[in-house]
């Protein structure tokens, strides 16, 4: 049954495993084989730890055989974005400056996945330090969109999205700082969920912008994403910003339906210059939800126009500080024969960081520097509060907000790489959610005439991930976009 195993949901795979129709090793081997044969075309993986993964699969099989400690994830292969640290495994955030770094500990989320019996079998490509919207900024290699190899998979979790779309793993983990899960999920036609800030521990996640970063699942179905989220979530003593509140059975919400739900449609999210096919697909999805009994209401998020600027101040300020530890003294790249310590720092960082990372470090350093702090950083924090207030206000009249994920479908390589501002604008609908700390999901809602996937974004109140699953699940049941597979 080999190749067939690579297109199942974790619900289907889990049933086969528990019924002993297939072993955990067979499941892993099928995926390893597919990666081996097809990933050269896609470029999703930076590293596959086959040996460690086989040991994990054997362990999962023991659990399955013993019938004890078996979860929905036992024996399920999971791909991990390279921003997440794994013990004994290269963990480079796709940066040259971390080229020699192997994790010396497991990130909390990895620990939790292992505890659930999942098989974490490889590290996925990304934009360097999660900075980018196309995965063109990886210092290692390009990842291609499985639906059209001339197009980007989106970013920064491009590898995580492409891997699920290409059948390399049923689920994967990415990180979302300004849309880095939802945007590549939309471009690759999979489900991508960004939880509420604080829902999932960030311990072991190589930081980009600490107050915005959040880990989340990629999956082929909303229910799968919900399952994975449940295992990732929860308070972590090692992350002071993680929140101590019960973790619901998210997947159960997928069957609730949307009858009576009020869905807010923000007028600021349907803008001029938006791709007509994308808009049509999203409007179609809204109509379908309405048909199922949801009520559409217009809402306003008046500070949306400041979101991108606010984001690029807050995120770069934090990044400039978070990336200071990569100074050439440790972790990998060090300049040859430095004259003195200053020369060591300057040349190591100059050689080790790519252009986008340097651009952001400089921007962030400037925004925090004395004399500019008040004009930029403090202002941005004030705007951030206003943007959050917009949402809290909107959620007084609706249960969830529905919108496009991106203004266009996946773009071609190089199309926006030369123009950072154009690239930054591709995150215009996803960024506000991070500034406000809200949860959001992207679910497939159609295709363009060039057969590129389009995503529908659903946002909800803080810690209302169940609402995302509810809306996404209802829409998914009525359509079959998520069942389509790219031809590779």
């Amino acid at each position: 049954m080999g190749a067939d195993l690579c297109h199942l949901s974790i619900g289907e795979l889990g049933a086969l495993l528990r019924e002993k129709k297939v072993s955990a090793s067979e499941v892993l081997e099928a995926h390893l084989k597919r990666v081996e044969t097809l990933d050269p075309k896609v470029g999703a993986f930076l590293h596959v730890n086959a040996e460690q993964a086989m040991a994990q699969a054997r362990h999962a099989q023991e659990l399955l055989d013993g019938g004890r400690g078996v979860t929905a994830l036992t024996g399920i292969p999971v791909g991990i974005k390279d921003v997440i640290v794994m013990d004994g495994t290269p963990s480079t955030a796709a940066s040259r400056i971390l080229s020699a770094f192997k994790g010396t500990y497991d990130a909390t989320v990895v620990r939790k996945l292992h505890a659930a019996g999942a098989v974490c079998f490889g590290k996925l490509n990304m934009d360097e330090f999660a900075m980018g919207s196309s995965t063109e900024n990886s210092s290692v290699k390009k990842t291609l969109n499985p639906w059209d190899l001339d197009c980007v998979p989106g970013g920064s979790s491009g590898g995580s999205a492409a891997a699920v779309a290409a059948g390399f793993c049923p689920v994967s983990i990415g990180s979302d700082t300004g849309g880095s899960i939802r945007q590549p999920a939309a471009f690759c036609g999979v489900v991508g969920l960004k939880p509420t800030y604080g829902r999932v521990s960030r311990f072991g996640v190589i930081a980009f912008a600490s107050s915005l970063d959040q880990l989340g699942p990629f999956a082929r179905t909303v229910a799968d994403a919900a399952h994975l989220l449940e295992f990732m979530s929860g308070f972590d003593d090692l992350d002071s910003t993680s929140v101590d509140r019960p973790v619901p059975n998210y997947a159960a919400a997928a069957d609730r339906g949307v009858k009576g739900l009020r869905l807010g449609v923000p007028k600021e999210y349907f803008i001029d210059g938006m791709d007509a096919e994308v808009e049509a697909a999203v409007r179609g999805a809204l109509a379908e939800l309405e048909k199922q009994g949801a009520k559409l209401v217009e809402v306003s998020l008046p500070h949306t126009k400041y979101a991108v600027a606010t984001y690029y101040i807050v995120a770069t300020a934090e990044a400039s500080s978070n990336l200071a530890r990569y100074d050439g003294v440790r972790f990998g790249h060090r300049a040859k024969d430095p004259k003195d310590i200053f020369d060591l720092y300057v040349r190591s960082r100059g050689e080790g960081f790519g252009p986008e990372v340097k651009r952001r470090i400089m921007l962030g350093t400037f925004c925090l520097s004395s004399g500019y702090y008040d004009a930029y950083y403090r202002k941005a924090q004030q705007l951030r509060w206003l943007i959050r207030q917009d949402f809290l206000e909107a959620f007084k009249t609706c249960d969830a907000i529905v919108s496009p994920v991106t203004p266009t479908a996946a773009f071609r390589f190089g199309e926006k790489a030369a123009d950072p501002i154009q690239m930054y604008l591709s995150d215009i609908f996803t960024i506000s959610c991070n500034l406000a700390g809200l949860p959001g999901v992207s679910v497939p809602c159609g295709f363009t005439s060039k057969s590129l996937p389009v995503g529908l974004q659903v946002l909800a109140r803080h810690f209302a991930e169940e609402t995302l699953v509810q809306v996404g699940g209802a829409y998914e049941r009525a359509t079959d976009w998520h069942k389509r597979r790219p031809a590779l």
Binding site: V85, G103, A207, S321, L323, R325
Partner: protein
């Protein structure tokens, strides 16, 4: 023109927590380099800080002891700068919203005679918490010049106690630092070890024309690690600035270092090359919130502080201000004194014994006294032996010496060495008769009016009894017999 010095101190105190400020590594001193490190204090990719609650309690305790307001909400910030021994490239510190604000400390400033000349009140600006950096070791002795980094100290918890510029002289500065150190030791929040760097001090010094309210340009002398160095550094800096100002020059705002070998301060970096620390709120830590209940709980558990103890020693034990000052100067010493005084029932005598004999033997009260073989119990027993007339005060000093080295009970020493005082008049009369008989010449001198010879007879009796004769009885009998 006459100038007035304006001095403020920034004191860094390493808190006596078992573990570091943001991870569970040991915060102990003197272990093998990098033995006490983990991914968190090494600043590895992906790690996050987790605040040590014990350190928060220690800082609050200190704030309360110094009369500060404890801020219900305080914020950790990042102070960004590159340094090889700063693993994260930033230091987590508190900036615009510190844990404690305001406060004051009364310091006892000594005069030239070593006695307290006057009391000086110094206001405290703030106390904030921060993590320490590591240590760079530069090895020039190898073939290749190399620098080694020890990160044991990285992330250990510090309190920075910042004073207002209320200090006017080097002597006031060291009096303030001494008093502050005492308070920290009393609170048990810092070991006060300046040599090991667990207490260090930056001195901000400026000069202004006497009577002027305006502050002059200041220099900051970094990391002074002894009271003597602090005084010398400030004195040097005052002289240097005075020289510049009186010859019409201007003071450059800069950071300076004190060189203990030359007794001079020298420029480390000027304001122009000063760092722009790019402070901003630490996004990995939530604001620190302490409740009123927590504060009052810590407040209720505050120990008696040196100043209160000194006042109590004066009123409860009728000690002089000077004696009370010395005996309350250290928590261990004060408790040693109080126990001894209570056991022997004579505080004045206990105070004298401790100030003369005990303090003569120990150089470092905090570390040596708790390990001493003489305890308040045995010292009180010794004093009781004098009070009962069993031994003389003079013999007691020898017994004390024996107790200090052997750790034996005083009764045991007195018994085994046969040192019990002879008060028996019949026995002593015999000795005196012998002494008078053997020294006819001196008897003649005494009778001829030479009073000073009396001492000779006392000495001779003492010698004959190996010092055991009760001096009061000997005096009386001698007077009677010599007529």
């Amino acid at each position: 023109m006459e100038y007035e010095a304006v001095i403020g101190l920034e004191v860094h105190a390493q808190m006596l927590t078992k573990t570091k400020l943001f991870c569970s590594c040991s915060a102990s001193f003197g272990d093998d380099p990098n033995a006490n490190t983990c991914p968190i204090c090494l600043g590895f990719p992906g790690v996050l800080p987790k605040l040590n609650r014990q350190a928060v309690e220690y800082a609050i305790r200190t704030g309360l002891a110094l009369g500060c307001r404890i801020n219900g909400k305080s914020v950790f910030s990042r102070k960004n700068y590159f340094y090889p021994d700063l693993p994260k490239g930033y230091q987590i510190s508190q900036y615009d919203l510190p844990l404690c604000s305001g406060g004051n400390l009364k310091a006892r400033v000594l005069g030239d005679d070593g006695r307290v000349a006057y009391e000086k009140e110094v206001r405290i600006t703030r106390i904030h918490m921060e993590e320490d950096a590591g240590k760079s070791l530069h090895e020039a002795s190898r073939d290749i010049r190399s620098s080694l980094i020890d990160l044991n100290r990285a992330c250990t918890p510090l309190m920075e106690i910042v004073s207002e510029p209320d200090i006017r002289s080097a002597r006031e500065a060291s009096a303030y630092l001494k008093e502050l150190r005492q308070v920290l030791l009393y609170l048990g929040v810092c070991d006060g070890n300046m040599e090991e760097g667990s207490l260090r001090c930056d001195a901000n010094v400026s000069l202004r024309p006497k009577g002027s309210e305006k502050l002059g340009t200041r220099t900051e002398t970094k990391n002074v690690n002894s009271f003597r160095f602090l005084e010398r550094a400030i004195e040097y800096e005052i002289r240097r600035q005075e020289m510049i100002l009186s010859t019409g020059g201007t003071i450059v705002q800069e950071t300076r270092l004190f060189d203990a070998n030359t007794g001079e301060t020298r420029s480390m970096r000027s304001k122009e090359e000063a760092h722009d620390y790019r402070y901003f709120p630490e996004p990995d830590l939530l604001p620190l919130v302490v409740s009123e209940a927590q504060i009052s709980d810590i407040s209720a558990r505050l120990p008696e502080l040196p100043e209160a103890k000194r006042q109590r020693f004066i009123s409860d034990y009728s000690l002089s201000d000077y004696d009370a000052g010395i005996l309350s100067s250290d928590k261990v010493l004060a408790s040693f004194f109080e126990k001894t005084a209570k056991l022997c029932g004579d505080a004045k005598v206990a105070a004298n014994w401790i100030q003369t004999e005990v303090l003569c033997e120990v150089k470092d009260v905090e570390t040596e006294l708790p390990k001493a073989k003489v305890t308040p119990e045995t010292l009180a027993a010794l004093i009781t032996l004098i009070q009962k007339g069993t031994i003389s005060g003079k013999i007691a000093k020898d017994v004390f010496g024996d107790m200090w080295t052997s750790g034996k009970e005083p009764e045991e020493i007195v018994k085994s060495k046969g040192l019990v005082q002879v008060s028996d008049e019949g026995e002593l009369a015999k000795v005196i008769d012998n002494v008078i008989a053997a020294n006819a010449k001196q008897v003649e001198q005494y009778k001829g009016g030479k009073q000073s010879v009396f001492g000779f007879f006392v000495g001779a009796v003492m010698k004959a009894t190996q010092g055991k004769a009760n001096p009061a009885v000997v005096n009386r009998l001698l007077k009677e017999k010599l007529g």
